[in-house]
């Protein structure tokens, strides 16, 4: 589903964010990307979204080589990749339903289908009664659920999450993780960048650890910190 071959990203000024990354994420996998700030997690996510281009190497997302993709095709790429960010990125002057439906309106779906799919996905994230609220009337956890709902409403094969629990307390974070787990069970590949130890340790999914732009660990049922003498990869 996602494949990186020898990917290097050097920013202007010479900062190397990623060094020679090889990574293969299969369909339906749930992958944590962990590491300290500045280790390259966010750069990896933004390369997968083609917000930036890799300096060297090849990246395939959903079967397409996005390093060669012309700019006008990028919107199509983003339709097959849902995204969730630490700061939710909701539109404050639209209701929850409108925020979620926005992703479908953009694709030109008929109104009846938009209404139905929005309702379905709001049920999935547990917000079916709050469709008419505005983002400012919701708690942080609820807002993040709205953003997961928006990322998932058109059923993309891939969902990318960049520190989705970064602004949330531990209890609320668990709720978000349940939602992401549910999304993953529908067959969606989930890639989540995080430095939340508790969550990674509780979920026991594949963990890729980055350090100064290099992959230093890749475990199929990993924890946040590497455990000596134990390596499933």
């Amino acid at each position: 589903m996602i494949l990186l071959e020898g990917v290097t990203k050097v920013y202007e000024g010479g900062t190397v964010a990623l060094r020679d990354i090889d990574l293969d994420v299969k369909k339906g996998e749930f992958l944590f990307v962990v590491g300290p700030s500045g280790s390259g997690k966010s750069t990896l996510i933004s390369l997968l979204l083609r917000e930036q281009r890799a300096t060297r190497g090849k990246i395939w997302v959903a079967g397409k080589d996005i390093t060669k993709m012309p700019g006008w095709k990028v919107p199509h790429l983003r339709r097959s990749v849902g995204t969730v960010f630490q700061d939710y990125k909701l539109l404050p002057n639209r209701t929850v339903s409108e925020n979620v439906g926005f992703a479908l309106e953009v694709l030109g779906r008929p109104h009846s289908i938009v209404t139905r799919q929005v309702q379905q996905v709001l049920e999935l994230v547990g917000l079916q009664t709050k469709g008419d609220r505005y983002p400012r009337q919701l708690s942080g956890g609820e807002q993040q659920r709205v953003s997961v709902a928006r990322a998932f409403v058109n059923r993309p094969p891939i969902l990318l999450a960049d520190e989705p629990t970064g602004n949330l307390d531990p209890a609320t974070s668990v709720g978000i993780m349940r939602v992401l787990d549910r999304v993953n069970r529908t067959g969606t590949t989930v890639v989540m960048a995080t430095h939340d130890h508790a969550i990674v340790d509780a979920m026991r999914r594949r963990v890729v650890q980055l350090d100064r732009g290099k992959i230093i660990r890749d475990e199929t049922r990993g924890t946040y910190e590497s455990v000596n003498g134990r390596n499933d990869a």
């Binding site: 700019g71 983003r78 990125k89 992703a103 928006r150």
Partner: protein, 289 residues
């Protein structure tokens, strides 16, 4: 079709949501296009009025007592010149009539033999600026006694006309450019205020055109609204002038209706175009992939 409806709905709901910025844009278009249109009307008024002042005979050629045949051929020759619009002949009897009229209040001068008054040819020119050429061509002809023109007045009048026209047109051009810049800038501000919305649109995979179209419609609507207000203002100003000022002046204040209609349409198109150009340049920088 559905998409188009969605986009139009988006454009209008965003006009409603950003009322303050939108009214700033509309007002700036309104003011600058009113000034542009006003300057154009002013230049047209100058043109119409000076054209009126230029009516009448421009050159009078007094003739010696020569055979009718010579007079006729001279008249035909003058008529054939490019600069000349029309030629009228005034014989001795006609000259006597004019003389009587001119000195009607001085009976002592009226006792005069019609045969001593010279016949003349009166010339109207297409463009009074050419009077010198025509006068020069007439000089030296033995049949001609004297060539008379209001030369100084001609020079003054055409200088004034040119200066006023240039001033008004220059004003219109400068204000036109200013209005495009103003519109572009205001729409850019409106778009900058909504960069989050654009980034979300890009995030969920909206194509560039999908993002752009509502802004273009919005810009066009703003430009058009401003232009409509400007056109209304100029028409209102015009009719106010005609109704309240004209009777007290010698100067004409009403411009040709065809001129007003044509330029009103042009101003509307210009407003809409300026809106589209403004929003295109405004959106572009937020659409870079």
């Amino acid at each position: 079709m559905r998409r188009l409806m969605f986009l139009t709905r988006e454009a209008f709901s965003s006009l409603r949501r950003n009322l303050l910025v939108v009214s700033a844009a509309v007002v700036s278009v309104f003011i600058s296009l009113t000034l542009v249109f006003g300057a154009l009307v002013l230049s047209e008024l100058v043109r119409e009025n000076t054209a009126r002042w230029q009516e009448g005979d421009h050159i009078i050629v007094f003739l010696n007592d020569v055979p009718d045949q010579t007079e006729l051929s001279l008249q035909e020759e003058i008529q054939s010149w490019d600069e000349v619009a029309s030629v009228a002949y005034c014989d001795k009897a006609c000259a006597y009539q004019e003389y009587k009229q001119m000195f009607a209040d001085q009976p002592a001068l009226l006792d005069v033999d019609p045969s001593v008054l010279p016949a003349s040819i009166r010339i109207k020119l297409h463009n009074i600026d050419t009077y010198k050429d025509v006068t020069y061509q007439l000089m030296g002809n033995p049949a001609i006694r004297k060539v008379v023109t209001a030369s100084e007045q001609f020079d003054q009048l055409s200088a004034v006309t040119k200066a006023l026209n240039r001033l008004a047109l220059g004003l219109a051009v400068v204000l036109g450019i200013a209005s495009i810049v103003l519109i572009a800038n205001t729409i850019r501000m409106a778009i900058y205020a909504r960069r989050d919305e654009i980034s979300v649109m890009r995030l969920v995979g909206a194509s560039n055109w999908f993002i752009r179209v509502p802004f273009l419609l919005e810009g066009m609507a703003q430009g058009l609204m401003g232009a409509v207000l400007g056109v209304i203002a100029v028409w209102a100003g015009q009719s106010y002038l005609i109704n309240h000022v004209e009777p007290t002046f010698l100067i004409r204040l009403s411009v040709d209706r065809g001129f007003l209609v044509a330029w009103s349409l042009a101003i509307l198109v210009f407003g809409a175009l300026a809106g589209v150009i403004g929003s295109t340049t405004g959106v572009r920088r937020f659409l870079k992939v």
